[in-house]
């Protein structure tokens, strides 16, 4: 394959401004009492933490800013939250569910 025309893998870092691509739908599944992320031929069921992160992924905030918001909201150490957020977003980016 021609590497020049090949889009690269997104590596999520502190300065990344992540967003959900328009074709993904984050919805509340009232019938089953949980949040779902609808993707092509996939249904993801993010837990409370993941939903909190995903709602902050607006393409404007950096990962660091997202971490700050969450650290305040959950009164938790930023280090712990940062590691968790990076891990979550990288996993989603590797599946094509997070862009920047």
């Amino acid at each position: 394959m021609n590497e020049a025309t090949s889009p690269a893998r997104l590596i999520v870092g502190r300065e990344t401004r992540p967003h959900l691509p328009a074709y993904l739908k984050l919805r509340h599944d009232a019938g089953r009492g949980r949040w779902i992320l609808l993707a092509p031929e996939r249904v993801l069921t993010p837990d409370e933490t993941a939903v909190a992160v995903l709602k902050l992924c607006d393409g404007k905030r950096t990962v660091e800013e997202i971490v700050e918001v969450l650290a305040k909201e959950y009164s938790a150490p930023a280090d712990v939250i940062r590691a968790d957020v990076l891990d979550l977003l990288q996993g989603l980016a590797d599946k094509g569910y997070i862009k920047a």
């Binding site: 031929e41 979550l88 599946k95």
Partner: protein, 409 residues
């Protein structure tokens, strides 16, 4: 050869596959909660009409006539009911779904019902204006099949001249319109050498997802098995290649793979379990637990014209026939994997052994397994037989076959 299994957890997310292919379904912990009341996926076969005549089609041999197809109102009602009962995704398929002039209305109804809609199309008769309209009405995702990456061979396989150029146009429009694109690659002995080029094509087009879908031998594909089944060696080679590429293309292209179970040791967890996460509606409105279920002649299928969809899901005989594990015979009944693969595919057990309650012969524990593998290897070693193309004339000719194997001594 092991079944491809998606990692079930990404950080704080559970993933469930809602594929239209027969080999995967909802699995993992997500299953219980997601499927308490309704399936997550609905395959709506809007019509059996199709401009292509692919011999690997998994539609039943007996194709449904146009005058038996459900009305626009009925399909729209199905979408509404599906949304209300908690179905999350709908696959609009066929035949060729764009052959229905009212596809626009059905997509609108799906969107209004909150369903995530997938259009599964051959794309040869779709123009840009129509696609734009479908997108405006809320279409979420498009899947386009490519019969091969070599245009000439593709057009021989699909029996449709000029198909490739048209498919490439539609693929580009999908991307331009901001929709995710899946390239569907139906793999068999006559295109298996091109798996690497399918991956190149998908990346070049900017597809989000590629389905390397080794043909599953149902319907027309079963009839054409000797024309389609690859050798064991080629199969393994292509699977290993895909696994390497998947790692390399992480974050660029999602590659889903459906492996041919004839060469497997363990059966596929078909539909993720019968009546567990998936339902299928035929062009005439029959509601099936999987799209090949009509090959089990002892089952009776309810029709959406007669009963509400939720009722059918919860109580119909066909859905309850193989739900759970109580129906199982040995070796499934006492097997440690019975809640993992559910004894494999009921339709394949029916077709090959003559009893839908038998273990899927793809399982090494089935007494029919050795015979099935021997047949597959023998067929693959000989030159391919000519295609029996999927068309109404051949359908009339071919409604015979179905000769069960004898078990091993």
């Amino acid at each position: 050869m092991s079944e491809e299994l998606e990692p079930k957890t990404i950080g704080h997310c559970q993933t469930a596959v809602v594929d239209d292919e027969p080999t995967e379904g909802v699995s993992g912990d997500a299953q219980a909660a997601l499927c308490a009341r309704a399936p997550v996926g609905l395959l709506a076969e809007l019509t059996h009409r199709c401009p292509l005549q692919c011999s690997y089609c998994s539609n039943p041999i007996e194709l449904e006539r146009v005058n038996k197809e459900l009305s626009t109102e009925m399909w729209c009602s199905v979408m509404k009911q599906a949304g209300e009962m908690g179905i999350l995704q709908v696959h609009l398929s066929g035949g060729e779904p764009t052959a229905r002039k009212d596809l626009e209305d059905i997509v609108s109804a799906a969107s209004e019902a909150g369903l995530y809609s997938n259009l599964i199309t051959a794309a040869v008769t779709l123009n840009r204006a129509r696609l734009e309209d479908l997108v405006k009405r809320g279409l979420d995702h498009v899947q386009i099949s490519f019969q091969d990456v070599d245009a000439e061979n593709a057009e021989r396989i699909g029996a449709y001249p000029g198909a490739t150029a048209k498919k490439l146009d539609v693929a580009r429009w999908v991307i331009e319109l901001g929709l995710p694109l899946t390239i569907n690659a139906p793999i068999h002995r006559q295109n298996i050498h091109n798996v690497p080029r399918y991956i190149e094509l998908a990346v070049k087009l900017g597809a989000q997802r590629l389905e390397v879908a080794h043909v599953q031998y149902y319907g027309w594909a079963y009839l054409n098995r000797a024309a389609l089944i690859p050798t064991y060696e080629d199969t393994v080679k292509s699977i290993e290649f895909v696994e390497r590429e998947r790692e390399r293309l992480k974050g660029v292209l999602t590659i889903d793979m459906v492996v041919p179970d004839y060469y497997a040791k363990r059966p596929k967890p078909c539909m993720g379990g019968w009546g567990k996460g998936f339902m299928n509606i035929t062009p005439a409105g029959k509601v099936l637990p999987c799209h090949a279920a009509e090959t089990i002649k002892t089952l009776h299928f309810d029709n959406v014209q007669d009963r509400p969809l939720l009722d059918i899901w919860l109580t119909s005989d066909a859905f309850n026939a193989f739900r759970g594990t109580a129906w199982m015979k040995e070796p499934c009944r006492s097997c440690a994997f019975r809640e993992i693969d559910f004894g494999g595919c009921r339709c394949q057990a029916m077709t090959i052994t003559g009893d839908a309650r038998n273990t899927d012969p793809a399982c090494a524990l089935s007494p029919y397994h050795g015979e099935m593998v021997r047949l597959a290897r023998e067929e693959a070693a000989k030159p391919p037989t000519p295609f029996i193309y999927r068309n109404p004339r051949n359908a009339a000719e071919a409604a015979k076959a179905e000769r069960p194997l004898v078990p091993a001594e």
